[in-house]
């Protein structure tokens, strides 16, 4: 019961914050509501008993990515100009609404094979075993830092003063 109340509160906060991101005129306030949306998503992970993922979400998104976005807003000084829509606003709305309707129709009419087993808790040892253990995801784990290093070097090269 408590889980359901938590889900509905977090879902409403998350959707409102996401709407604020795309509808607010002020870019900085949009970034702050994006942070709120990330926090709500972390809470949603907790209601799904994904405790490790919730902490990672707060560390990576709320901690790092939001700081990067706010720094970029400060550096580009577009705050005064706000966040206007382009001339595709109405078609974009219809595309998004059509997508939403289609995907909800597909989801509601699919017969999901929901398992009745109770989820693992805590998930951290199981995730560690899958990521680093025998027959797990060790190759993607090794490739991910290469991608991150390439992204960092690329970002430095791109943003450097000539």
């Amino acid at each position: 019961m408590a889980l359901e109340i938590a889900f509905w509160i977090l879902a409403v906060i998350g959707v409102m914050a996401a709407l604020a991101v795309v509808l607010l005129g002020d870019v900085f306030r949009a970034a702050l509501s994006l942070v709120l949306c990330f926090l709500a998503v972390a809470g949603i992970y907790l209601t799904l008993s994904a405790d490790f993922l919730a902490v990672v979400q707060i560390l990576v998104y709320v901690g790092a990515i939001s700081v990067l976005i706010i720094l970029a807003i400060m550096l580009t000084r577009e705050v005064q100009r706000g966040s206007p829509g382009n001339k595709l606003r109405l078609p974009a709305f219809f595309v998004a609404a059509l997508f939403l309707g289609g995907i909800i129709y597909a989801m509601v009419n699919t017969n999901w094979q929901v398992s009745s087993a109770s989820p693992l808790e805590p998930t951290t040892p199981a995730i560690a075993g899958l990521l680093f253990g025998e027959g797990g995801f060790i190759l993607p784990v090794e490739i991910a830092p290469i991608l991150l290093v390439a992204a960092i070097i690329g970002a430095i090269v791109l943003a450097r003063e000539k």
Binding site: W8, G14, A18, L19, V21, V22, V27, A30, A31, C37, V41, I44, Y45, T47, L48, A50, F52, L53, V56, Q57, V60, I65, L68, I69, L75, T76, R81, G82, S83, P84, G85, L88, P91, A92, F93, A96, F99, L100, I103, M107, W112, Q113, V114, S115, A117, P119, L120, T123, I127, L130, F137, A144, L148, A151, G154, A155, I156, L158, A159, E161
Partner: protein, 102 residues
């Protein structure tokens, strides 16, 4: 009772909001923020599938972790590109950036 469908519909709503933002906004940073919203929506769907369909395997959560890695790389490179464009053109209006248009 909150079930799999609730989480999937929440993910779909967040994804649609992000899609609208990515298509309809001029400010390149807002477009990047909308893309982050869409990635988060996909993560919610992944974790919900992991929780309700295969609760003992956690593969959906592993996928979500790798999506976060790629999202972090994407946002770093994307913001660097936006700052580089701002330096050259003094604007980040996506409708005015037409370097690759001929």
């Amino acid at each position: 009772m909150v079930g799999l469908e609730h989480y999937l519909i929440l993910a779909a709503v967040l994804f649609a909001i992000g899609l609208y933002g990515a298509l309809a906004k001029r400010n390149a940073i807002i477009i990047l923020m909308s893309i982050e919203l869409m990635l988060n929506a996909v993560n919610i769907a992944m974790v919900a599938f992991s929780r309700y369909i295969v609760p003992l395997q956690l593969t959906g959560q592993i996928f979500a972790i790798f999506i976060m890695v790629v999202a972090a790389a994407e946002v770093a490179v994307g913001l660097a590109i936006i700052i580089a464009i701002y330096r050259h053109h003094k604007t980040i209006d996506a409708t005015k950036i037409d370097l690759m248009k001929w």
